[in-house]
Symmetry: C2
Subunit: 398 residues, 2 copies
C-alpha cells in the first residue's frame, strides 16, 4: 500500500546500476502540484550533501517530490556532492516540468563514495516514465541498502489515507539514523501543519528506536500531503485532525518497528518500557541506555536473563535515580525488586530465573524498568547484538 | 612486580571456592600501619555494596588494606550485601589485628548473586596467613574474572617505588568500569596528597579507555602509600613529587593498556587521537565516540578502513564542529581531508585505500581526527568488536 496509497501520488523505482548487486537503486516519489511537505533530519554534525540541500529547499521553496538514490550516501563528498545532488534533481525537474527546488534529494549507502552520476542521470528519464499511482512498492524497494525486506505501511483516517515506507538497518539510533522514511497523505494540510504532524506525530516513533546507537549522516523523515482527497485544509481543531495525526503516528510506529525487526543481524526485538521517572526525558534516557547496552543486547541474543546488566545500564544512564527504588521485570519475572536481585534468582532450580529465561526467548523481549514514583515514561525499541551484526559490519565495503 | 614491589606491603591470593573454575578468588593487600589511601569509584547510580562501604571508610577512617573477592560482584544485593561486606572485612580485621574500618572491600563478578559468605569467611584466615612481601602476583591473579591474563606494572621514582595491578575485560568504559585497579608506593604521602595523586595522575589513564561503553557497578581504583621507604612525606613542591606523579601515571597507563589488550574478545587495539578541538573535553567526547562506535569497532575487527564510519562517529559525538574542518587519518593515510573523502579513495586500485587497509591490520590501529584549530586534545584507547565478544557475552551466566 505504501506511499502511493493516498491519492495524489505517483512513484517509481528503477535500476541505474549503482549497486554491485544490480538491485533497483533510484526511487522517485511525486505529489500533485498542490502538495505540501516537511521533514526532520539527522543531528549529525557532518550531514550529507542531500540533507543540506533538502533543508534549504524545505525552508525556501515548496517541494512536492523526492528523488532517492541508494548505494552511495553522497556524504563527505564536499562541493562535488552538492553539485551532484543539484544536477540529479535538475534533470528530474526538467523531465517532470518542475522547478528543481521542488525536488528533495535523498541518498543512502556508502559514505564518501561519490554518486555514480552518469548512470543516475541516464536513468532519471526512465524513473519519470515509470511513475505510477501503484508505484509505491517499487519505490520502497529502490531505496533499500543492506535491508533484507522492504518496509511499508498505511492507515485510514476517516476519508483520508496515510501511507509510508522506510529503509535502514544499521547506523540506526534515536535522533534518526541511516534511515530514510517517507510518509504521505491525501489530506490537504498547510505547510506549517505538515511540520507539526512531522514533529509531533511522526518523528517520535523514529526517535524511539535504536539498532546500534549510530546517528548517520543521511537520516531523513519526510512527510508529503497532496490534498488530492479534496475538500479544504485539515488543521488542528478540524474534526479530522486528531484522526489524521493518529494515523500518521500509527504508520510511523509500524515503519519504525519494521526497521528494528530488520536491524542488522537482529534475531530478536527488545521492547524497553520505563516508568516512574521524574520526566519523560529521564525515562527515555534510561530506556535508551538499556536498549542500547551491548551487554544487554548480547544477553538478549543468548536468551540469557542477566538482570545485573539491565541494572548496570539503568544506573549508568546519567539519570539521577535511587537504586533502592529500582524494579526491573523481564516479561512477567520481577528480577530486580527495590534494587535487589532476589537471592532465589540464583538458587538451583530457580522458578524466577526460569520465568525470565522463557521471556528472553520470545521474538519480542519485554523489559520493564520502574525507577520511582514520578510521572515520566518512555518506550524504546531495540534489537539484539549478534554474530551476524559483527559479520555484516566487519565485511561491509570489502 | 605488582603491588608488592614497593616496600611496606604484603599481599596474598587464595581459593575460597566461589568460582566454578576453582581459580583463586580472594585477594588481600595490606600496607604497614602508617599507610595512607585514596580511591575513585564508579559513577554508576546503582553502586555495589562494597563501593558504598569503601567510600564511607575512605571518608571517615584511615584504610590501609584491601580485601577483594572475585566471582560475585555483591551488587544489587540490598542490605544483605552491605552486611556481607562488613562481615568479611570484620573477620579479616580480626585476624590482622586491625579495626575493620581500616579495610576496604572490593568485589567483582556476577551482579546480583550474593557473595558465598561461608567459604569466604573460612578462607580469610588462610589469606592472612599467606600474606607475603612477594605476594603481589598471587593477589593480581585472585582478583580476575573473565580476564585471560593478569595485569601488573611497576616503576621507579628516584628512591621510591610504584607498583600496581588491575582486572577487568568487559563493562569497561570511561568513568571507570568492571575494573579494579590497585596502585601502591613506599613513599610517605599525606592523605590529601594521595587523593591528588589518584585524581590527577592515576584516574585519567583509566578514564581514557573503553571496551564496551558500559560503566559498571563496582569500578574502583585505589592508591595506597606505605611510607616504608623512610624519610619524611613527599608532597607537591617536594623535589621527588613530580617524579612520583609521573611514575604513578606511567603505571596507570600501563595497566589501562593491559586492560584494553585483554578486552573481551578483542583482537586489536584502537588508539584514537583527537586534536584541534575547542577544549580537551570536546576532544575527549569525539575520541570516545569514535573508539566506542560499534561500526568503527567492527570495521577494525574486519581490518576494513571505512572512513565514513569514523566521520559519522565524530559528527554524532554531540560536539559542535565544522565538518569542513575535519581531517581524519588511519595510520599515515589521510582518508578525510577537510570533510571530504578523496574520490581517489574509491578508485581501483587506490593507493590511499591500500595504505589505510595496511594500517588497519596493525595490532594497534591509530586513528587521528583533527577537528579544527583549537587547543583541545585527547587520546582514547579502545578495542575491536568481534564474534568472540558476542560469544562471551551471549553465554556469560548460562
Amino acid at each position: 500500500m505504501s506511499v502511493t496509497y493516498p491519492l495524489g501520488f505517483r512513484a517509481s523505482g528503477v535500476t541505474a546500476g549503482c549497486k554491485p548487486s544490480g538491485a533497483p537503486d533510484l526511487g522517485l516519489l511525486v505529489g500533485d502540484p498542490g502538495t505540501t511537505a516537511a521533514g526532520v533530519f539527522t543531528t549529525n554534525r557532518a550531514p550529507a550533501a542531500p540533507v543540506r540541500l533538502a533543508r534549504e529547499r524545505l525552508a525556501s521553496s515548496s517541494p512536492c517530490a523526492v528523488l532517492v538514490n541508494s548505494g552511495q550516501a553522497n556524504a563527505a563528498t564536499g562541493p562535488r556532492g552538492v553539485d551532484d545532488a543539484r544536477a540529479m534533481t535538475a534533470r528530474a525537474g526538467e523531465f517532470l516540468g518542475l522547478d528543481p527546488d521542488r525536488l528533495i534529494p535523498c541518498s543512502t549507502g556508502v559514505i564518501g563514495e561519490p554518486v555514480h552520476l552518469e548512470p543516475l542521470m541516464q536513468a532519471i528519464p526512465a524513473a519519470v516514465i515509470a511513475l505510477a499511482v501503484d508505484g509505491g512498492p517499487a519505490f520502497a524497494r529502490a531505496i533499500l541498502t543492506t535491508d533484507t525486506v522492504d518496509k511499508q505501511g498505511s492507515a485510514d483516517a476517516g476519508r483520508f489515507r496515510v501511507g509510508g515506507c522506510a529503509k535502514g538497518v544499521g547506523m540506526i539510533a534515536p535522533s534518526l539514523a541511516t534511515m530514510l522514511a517517507f510518509l504521505t497523505t491525501d489530506a490537504r494540510v498547510a505547510p506549517a501543519d505538515v511540520r507539526s504532524l512531522t514533529e509531533r506525530a511522526v518523528a517520535p516513533a523514529f526517535e524511539a528506536i535504536t539498532v546500534d546507537g549510530c546517528s548517520s549522516t543521511n537520516d531523513a523523515v519526510l512527510v508529503l500531503a497532496s490534498g488530492a482527497a479534496g475538500d479544504g485544509a485539515v488543521a488542528p481543531g478540524h474534526p479530522a485532525w486528531d484522526e489524521l495525526e493518529d494515523a500518521f503516528a500509527g504508520v510511523a510506529r509500524s515503519l519504525a518497528a519494521q526497521l528494528i525487526a530488520d536491524g542488522e543481524g537482529a534475531t530478536r526485538v527488545v521492547l524497553v518500557e520505563v516508568d516512574g521517572a521524574r520526566s519523560d526525558d529521564d525515562a527515555r534516557a534510561v530506556a535508551k541506555a538499556v536498549a542500547g547496552s551491548p551487554l544487554v543486547k548480547t544477553a538478549v541474543f543468548g536468551a540469557d536473563p542477566n538482570p545485573g546488566r539491565i541494572l548496570q545500564a539503568a544506573g549508568a544512564a546519567g539519570v539521577d535515580l535511587d537504586p533502592h527504588e529500582l524494579d526491573i521485570s523481564i516479561g512477567e519475572a520481577r528480577v530486580v525488586q527495590r534494587g535487589v536481585i532476589p537471592s532465589t534468582y540464583f538458587s538451583q532450580p530457580s522458578e524466577l530465573a526460569e520465568s525470565a529465561r522463557r521471556a528472553m526467548k520470545d521474538d519480542e523481549v519485554r523489559i520493564r524498568v520502574a525507577i520511582g514514583n514520578g510521572p515520566g515514561r518512555a518506550t524504546v525499541l531495540g534489537c539484539d547484538l549478534t554474530y551476524e551484526y559483527v559479520r555484516i559490519n566487519g565485511e561491509y565495503t570489502t
